[in-house]
């Protein structure tokens, strides 16, 4: 594909912002790194022939969810994270976590590329991924999951209200 150089730049940005989230000392900075990561993800979705997913990535993830995160961080005044690194009670966890995450990455790459293998298919005419086509599929093939998800959202809304209610 001709857009591979662009994808490499986007991938580097994505990994850099994820590492920024992992290493930042301030929770607000971490949240902003995550917003950058989601924005880069939206651009990758556009390159992958998924414009609708890209739009809801920006509105739902980078918009609604991250606003909620930033709101809670500022509400709690929990942006300073320097205290957490002074705890040395579980010092052995740090190298252990690095080893485990590296093992997970190696196993994932092995399973994906050696065992399963990404299928090599010839270039077909790309399927219609417009919002109209997605809506048609959503209300025909996936109408039952759609209803289940609406109930899930209702339960989550009621749950959030009940949990934060002052007694």
């Amino acid at each position: 594909m001709s857009d591979l150089p662009l994808l490499i730049v986007l991938g580097a940005l994505s990994i850099a912002s994820a590492l920024g989230l992992l290493l930042s000392r301030n929770a607000i900075y971490a949240a902003l790194y995550l917003v950058l990561n989601f924005g880069v993800g939206a651009v990758i979705y556009i390159l992958l022939n998924a414009p609708f997913i890209a739009v809801i990535q920006v509105t739902v993830y980078a918009g609604a969810i991250m606003v909620l995160f930033v709101f809670v961080i500022m509400l709690l005044g929990a942006e300073k994270l320097s205290i957490e690194d002074s705890s040395t009670s579980f010092a052995f966890q740090r190298p252990l976590a690095l080893i485990l995450a590296a093992a997970l990455l190696v196993i994932a790459v092995y399973v994906l590329f050696m065992r399963a293998g990404v299928p090599q298919m010839t270039n077909l005419a790309l399927v219609d991924t417009s919002p109209a086509a997605i809506g048609l599929m959503l209300f025909n093939t996936y109408s039952f999951p759609f209803e289940v998800v609406s109930i899930l959202l209702l339960v989550a809304m009621v749950g959030a209200v009940v949990l934060t209610r002052n007694k």
Partner: protein
Amino acid sequence: MDTTTFVVFLSAILFAIGTLGVLLRRNALLIFMSIELMLNAANLAMVAFAMRWNQLNGQMFVFFIMTVAAAEVAVGLALIVTIFRTKRSTSVDDLSALRG
């Protein structure tokens, strides 16, 4: 290396970084954000395979995952706020008692 291979590899790396965040960070909000990163990595792989197989189903699953993630964030942040009210802390090391 073609597009799908590259994006699936990228999503594996992002998922590993998210796992590392869950394992290393002590702040509940940071752990939560790392979980969002892992969900996003899974979405990336799903969209890449949807393009590879030239089908819409993968994108539908991403749509549902995003809905579930939104519900999860609403409930999870409500829990964190409630815990902060009683413990005055968002560090998971302070949550050592089952009694609320």
